[in-house]
Amino acid sequence: MPVKNRLRVLRAEREWSQQDLAERLEVSRQSVNAIETGKYDPSLPLAFRIADVFDLAIEEIFLRDAG
């Protein structure tokens, strides 16, 4: 099932660079870029970490791609 995410928007709202977010998540900048561009869907544990960093629920970040 295709999944889209709001990572780029949420990051921009906080004025974080991809590197900033990567450091908060303790992953590589390439990981953040791959998730943002939809090339890679994170595992559930990483999705929870992303949700924690943004202080949101997972479903507020990752959405079903109906289109």
Partner: protein, 141 residues
């Protein structure tokens, strides 16, 4: 790329292991040439010495597998697994096709040590495939 490699312990271990394996490979290869080819060493010591370069070379897949196991970043792990799949696919395809070609056609026999060599080169091809399809080649070649 190399800068980020130096910061991560798992990547450091990877580089140390590869350097050690290559050192053993080169020294044992030189030993084979000197003692077996040059001085006629034979019997069990010659067998043991002749196996050493191959054992050192066979360590490369193990070392890359350890990198996959030890890597903390799941996306990089994913890229490394793709690299291994490309390398393995290329090597098995080349070995299978060449095996039948040299059986039925007038082609020279390829010594078996070339297959792991091709596998190592395949890791490089895998990194290029990752770069083209995923936008990132990972951090270790």
């Amino acid at each position: 790329m190399i800068g980020s490699l130096r910061k991560k312990p798992e990547a450091k271990r990877y580089l140390v292991r590869i350097a050690t394996a290559m050192m053993i490979y080169l020294v044992s290869l030189a030993g084979c040439e000197w003692l077996i080819e040059g001085r006629g060493l034979s019997g069990a010591p010659a067998f043991a010495l002749a196996a050493l370069p191959g054992i050192a070379f066979a360590a490369v897949p193990w070392i890359f597998t350890r990198l996959i196991v030890e890597e903390q970043d799941e996306y990089l792990r994913f890229l490394y697994v793709r690299q291994v799949m490309v390398a393995t696919g290329l090597t098995l395809t080349a070995a299978a096709i060449w095996g039948f070609l040299e059986t039925y056609m007038d082609l020279p026999h390829v010594p078996a040590f070339w297959w792991p060599t091709i596998w190592c080169l395949g890791l490089g091809v895998g990194a290029i495939v990752n770069k083209v399809t995923m936008g990132s080649a990972g951090e270790c070649l």
